[in-house]
């Protein structure tokens, strides 16, 4: 039955994806809910919450607030919090199922926020019914459209290339070499990364021949300067729409690949182990496709399929429902399945080898 999940449990929703993109950018993030959605985001989907500070709040809606559409009351609460924050970069209003039911006018909320508080106000029309990557996609586009304005592409000038801490890394009055123009990275949040990766390690591997890498989601400044980046790297499908937008509007090219760490090209398996095997990789589509490509290069006679419960990319098959995965496993005659440990439960009756490749957006396995 469509929508019925009997073996697997819900994956990270769009609300969590949007908040992950916003998490490090010193904004006031207000989730328009009664408290439960925020509890899920902070308690289960955002591994950085316990070690890093971010101003994430629940609107604390109650039934009458929703029924009567008391936006003014919510704005008053927001004003109180803005009063205790030191120079927040923006106000972000993140949607949940409740605003979906009552058809909240996000445009009106944005105008109220900007007029009342004079602060850049972003609205994320997330519903809690889509998955994390959709929320990230919305967040990236909202940030780009808000901060880029209508400017044309230009190269950053000397003195304008900053590291995330705001320190200038290129001397003034010197010509900036093209390789110093930064590379932007979309789709590098804890949800998208392989279990052992961090944004820092991704940045290191993304720029192997000098220059800077900026992970979108670490600073508002990066979105303001995005039109000047030399290239974008997309490591998860959640960044595809944003990269495509930047290409169409500013002519910035992008590539799609997951820069895998050495020794992990074959998902931790050896060449002998995959030789002649039929393999299914289930993960976010870019990571899955990158590993597939590495496996096929390593062995002539390996047959690899990729599948994802999230946004598709290239040949990666989409699995909208749990039943689609069960069917794929039953019909695929696979020797090896590579995927999140939670997927084992839906592999009943299949007797091949299961290789664990944790995916935070699936099982929420705590990173080590």
């Amino acid at each position: 039955m469509k929508g019925l999940w009997k073996y697997l449990s819900p994956f990270a929703p769009d609300i969590s994806g949007a908040v992950e993109v916003l998490f490090r950018m010193n904004g006031l993030i207000v989730i328009i809910d009664a408290g439960g959605c925020t509890g899920n985001v902070c308690g289960f989907d955002e591994p950085r919450w316990k070690s890093e500070k971010s101003a994430i709040f629940s609107a604390g809606l109650r039934d009458l607030d929703a029924i009567l559409g008391r936006d003014e009351a919510m704005m008053k609460k927001i004003g109180d919090v803005l009063g205790v924050m030191e120079n927040p970069s923006f106000l972000a209003l993140v949607g949940t199922p409740v605003p979906s039911v009552i058809a909240t006018d996000y445009q009106a909320l944005r105008r109220m926020g900007e007029r009342k508080f004079g602060i850049t106000t972003l609205t994320m029309q997330t519903t809690g019914m889509e998955l994390y990557d959709k929320g990230q996609e919305k967040a990236y586009l909202e940030l780009l459209k808000t901060y880029l304005g209508q400017g044309e592409r230009r190269e950053l000038q000397s003195g304008e290339i900053h590291d995330p801490a705001g320190e200038c890394t290129c001397p003034e009055n010197e010509e900036v070499p093209s390789y110093m123009q930064p590379i932007g990275i979309f789709g590098a949040t804890p949800m998208d990364l392989l279990d052992f990766d961090t944004t820092d390690t991704i940045k290191d591997r993304a720029v192997c021949c000098g220059g800077q890498a900026r992970v979108f989601g670490e600073s508002v400044q990066d979105f303001k300067e995005a039109a000047s980046f030399r290239e974008n790297l997309v490591i998860s499908p959640s960044g595809l729409a944003a990269a495509s937008y930047m290409e169409k509007k500013y002519g910035i090219p992008y590539t799609v690949r997951y820069p895998l760490p050495a020794g992990f090209e074959l998902a931790g398996l050896t060449r002998d182990e995959i030789e002649g095997k039929r393999i299914l990789i289930v993960h976010q589509a870019v990571a899955a496709e990158t590993i597939r490509s590495e496996m096929e290069q390593a062995c002539d006679n390996v047959r690899v399929d990729t599948a994802t419960f999230f946004m598709p990319f290239a040949n990666c098959r989409t699995l909208p429902e749990e039943d689609d995965f069960i069917e794929l496993v039953a019909d695929g005659n696979y020797d090896i399945i590579v995927g999140d440990p939670m997927l084992r439960r839906a592999c009943r009756g299949w007797s091949g080898r299961f290789v664990e490749l944790p995916q935070f957006s699936v099982s929420g396995v705590e990173k080590q």
């Binding site: 039955m1 929508g3 019925l4 999940w5 009997k6 073996y7 449990s9 819900p10 994956f11 990270a12 929703p13 969590s16 207000v30 809910d33 009664a34 408290g35 439960g36 959605c37 925020t38 509890g39 899920n40 902070c42 308690g43 289960f44 919450w49 316990k50 500070k53 101003a55 994430i56 709040f57 629940s58 609107a59 604390g60 809606l61 109650r62 039934d63 607030d65 929703a66 029924i67 609460k77 927001i78 109180d80 919090v81 205790v84 924050m85 949940t96 199922p97 409740v98 979906s100 039911v101 009552i102 519903t127 809690g128 019914m129 998955l131 939670m342 439960r345 699936v362 099982s363 929420g364």
Partner: protein, 432 residues
Amino acid sequence: MEPFYLTAKEFAQRGREDFPKEEAPSHALIYSSPATLSYNSPGANGYGVKRAGLAIPESVMLLVAPGCCGRNSTILSRVSGYSERMFYLLMDETDLVTGRHLKKIPQAVEEILDVPEVRPKVVVICITCVDALLGTDLVRVCKKAEERTGVHVVPSYMYALMREGTKPPMTAIRQSVYSLLRPLRKNPHAVNLLGQFAPYDDDTEIYEMFRKAGLTKIREIGRMKTLEEYMEMGEANFNLVLNPESRYAADDLMQRLGMPYIEMNRFYDIQKIQRQYALLGGALGVKFDDAAYYEEASRALEAFKERHPKLTFAIGQTVNANPFELAAALLSYGYAVDRVFANATPADLPFITKIAEMSPDTRFYTSISPTMMNYKLEGEVDITIGKDAAWYYPEAVSVPFFSDVQPFGYRGLMRLLAEMEDALRANTEVTS
């Protein structure tokens, strides 16, 4: 800006008439700091609505909701071992507009019954905020599912939007889990303990004292292994309510089954424990012989005080206790309580007044206040009770005192003392 707090003296002076609005979660945006996550969500750690609904033996749950409402179950159900009893019917935006998800429920119930190795006897359907706003009549839907499948189908509600209403989620779920009970012939020797979803500690004196008083059938939902056993709770002569959140369920049982109830509170003040047993005995027309338990707990308390004559505490909300009562008890034992991190209700005022008399400068913070974002560690405490308090004082000795199986009475006090002793001893061993 300094985090919002009131001293005990200020709080007591304001009283019920000027009860601080900052204590109500809906007054301001809610700050879900890591300290608050264990209680500040209807589906958080311990027994949230979903896990609580599964307290009915031989049951499974079908959560009918947007995916985000079930996300925490992904992790919690695995950790707490109930993942094989959870099923999900995920809603999309068309469902919100048309309500078609409700028509799918009977078939979904039929399908999930075939999944577990042993066929469940009960399916608990849980709906969330969106259905609260849609005005869904879940009782009617459950009846249809029951007719189609022949198993009990129980409605339950995880309405976070109604946290401060007359029937908040944890109150509503307590009513749901007893809703299958049917009237049986009254057994004068039977009593139900209504309070938590897991049992009370095996060594809690209440069991032995009740048996001696002729109450030989003491039942609680956390000990019922089969649906048949659970149904026997319908023969109770009365219910003993050990948690105020069960009052609504007790009212419902009184109305439906003619089952009266008496309330008891969980105290850590030994004098209050003794007085409460005397009052309960008076109400039931029996005399509880609690002298031996009182003596045993008194000796344990004196021994602890001798070993640790001077301690300063910080107390949180994630504890098997009312934090304000616990603070008052510790002060009455001669200890200092520097900070309490908890949301007070008017029902806590008697304890706050008592704290104000003994320690007027004790500070009460509400952890979910937005101002807590600016909380900076200041002052020192020796020991924290509750893992939320431990988050504020990472250097202090930490006693989580938060478990599924519940402490109560004299033995509850002794368990607290034992856990504090263990933590203090472990700390001494590490530092020496």
